[in-house]
């Protein structure tokens, strides 16, 4: 049987991720786990995350899961990052006074500027960026299959990823300015939004992940 490991490092709503994965069709077993062996043996791996980056990275390191995530990335098996899980895949985050991250993607994670404004009407925009925003699929990818262009997904975050390239941005979103909604490299796909909270569109993305063979 196909197994999907949802990495458990004590951060927030990983159960929602697991429930959404269990809900989509397919012959797969979902394991919420911090067990190195189970994660390395799984066919697919999800790195979820909510909360602050400092706690996120220190827990990953304490459980020795930072190296495990890198091993999964190198193994060619499909790896999905969600929200803070995606941010943790960059090199560095400005959150909590600066935190070194996993470095699977080059680039940094930055806070939204104070006094963020809508360039169209100069109206002040609230932070966190919270709610349903439209994702522009900037490249074709198996993870976008059967998801319409500009579909809305649920976001909630106060920091955003600023990849340095050359990894392709797979999706972008506009809130005051355009930034990364999804990033992809080989067998890694990572999203800033919460597919597990994005109704049918989010479930479709998880269904695509269950089918994805890890090739872009």
């Amino acid at each position: 049987m196909n197994t999907i490991a949802v990495i458990d490092y004590g951060m927030g709503n990983l159960h929602s991720v697991a429930k959404a994965l269990e809900h989509v069709p397919g012959d797969h077993q979902v394991l919420v786990t911090s067990d190195v062996g189970q994660i390395l043996a799984a066919d697919r791996v999800v790195l979820p995350g909510v909360g602050a980056m400092r706690d996120c990275m220190s827990e990953l390191k304490r459980l020795k899961l930072d190296t495990v995530v890198k091993q999964v990335a190198d193994s060619g098996r499909p790896l999905l990052g969600v929200c803070v899980g995606m941010q943790a895949m960059l090199e560095h985050s400005a959150e909590n006074g600066g935190v070194e991250c996993l470095g699977l993607f080059s680039g940094t994670v930055e806070p939204f500027p104070t006094d963020l404004r809508d360039p169209l009407n100069a109206q002040r925009l609230k932070v966190p960026h919270m709610g349903w925003n439209q994702v522009d699929q900037t490249m074709p990818h198996p993870m976008w299959e059967n998801i319409l262009p500009d579909t809305r997904f649920y976001f909630v975050h106060s920091y955003y990823a600023q990849p340095a390239g050359p990894e392709p941005v797979a999706g972008s979103v506009v809130y005051g300015f355009p930034f990364v909604a999804a990033i992809a490299k080989e067998n890694i796909f990572a999203v800033q939004f919460h597919p597990e909270k994005s109704a049918q569109a989010g479930l479709r993305l998880y269904a695509n992940f269950v089918q994805w063979n890890g090739h872009p």
Binding site: K19, T114, K126, M130, W132, R152, H157
Partner: protein, 261 residues
């Protein structure tokens, strides 16, 4: 093109059942929170809020089960409010599948609780609920000096605290969102207190949910266009089958408000 304004139906839950007479034509058991939540999800609700109206410790276990059940089948954000008093209360609700908790009375008694909760779980899941009532004498003067104060215990107990100052303080303490209810308008069906909503929304950097007073669809759009709210919450307008969420969204879109359709 951009972030949609949210419509949030609110379900009052008493001992595991939705109360206040939810009436959907084709739902036999109208009091089942899962059935109601599923229906709202199908209609396009952007989030769902559960308010535990008894909030006794016995009832807490029941609410945890309700959240678990709904979170396993409804994949949109869920907020739980009512009787959230400790870090342990929050942890249990989040582990059950809630995405946010709304803190009201406990924040007034101990503002540090909000700071502790935001530090532990992140601001994104800490909503501070504010029940505000106008206390200035509007018959005097031109109304420009209106003041609102916050009330606790479901709006029964005055605190003497200025609502706008309180909202700012709660954001400083780590609230990621403000759920603002006008006690003057709650249940009146004459529309939101737009002055209050605008005053709070302009004063804080985080999203504000307007609540209290929705009686017609046009009130929802007004909360956004005139009240500058980021989201609107309503209960009875949806519960009694008067309007669906979809109708509400179409009305908001027609009024020029960006929504998820």
């Amino acid at each position: 093109m951009g972030l949609a304004k949210r419509i949030i139906p609110c379900l009052d839950v008493d001992n595991g059942r939705v109360v206040k007479g939810v009436q959907f034509v084709d739902i036999r058991d109208a009091g089942d929170p899962l059935e109601v939540a599923k229906r709202y999800d199908e209609q396009g609700a952007d989030e769902i809020t559960f308010l535990d109206i008894t909030a006794s410790s016995d009832n807490r276990e029941t609410m945890v089960h309700v959240v678990e059940e709904v979170a396993g089948q409804v994949f949109i954000p869920l907020t739980v409010g009512g009787g959230i008093r400790t870090v342990e209360d929050i942890r249990r609700m989040l582990n059950a599948g809630a995405d946010k908790v709304a803190i009201n009375t406990a924040a007034v008694f101990n503002p540090e609780f909000v700071r502790e909760a935001a530090d532990k779980f992140g601001s994104q899941c800490i909503v501070v609920a504010i029940d505000a009532k106008c206390v200035s004498d509007v018959s005097q003067g031109n109304g420009e000096n209106k003041r609102w104060e916050i009330f606790t215990h479901g709006g029964r107990k005055p605190t003497g605290i200025d609502a706008i100052e309180w909202a700012k303080k709660m954001v400083d303490y780590g609230a990621g969102e403000i759920l603002l209810t006008s006690m003057d308008r709650d249940g009146t069906k004459v529309g939101f207190d737009l002055e209050l909503t605008r005053a709070v929304s302009d004063a804080v950097t985080v999203p504000v949910i307007a609540s209290g007073g929705v009686g017609e669809l046009k009130h929802l759009a007004e909360g956004v266009t005139e009240g500058r709210a980021d989201a609107v919450l309503a209960a009875s307008i949806f519960h009694f089958g008067e309007h669906s969420i979809e109708e509400a969204k179409r009305a908001m879109a027609a009024a020029g408000v960006e929504v998820r359709l």
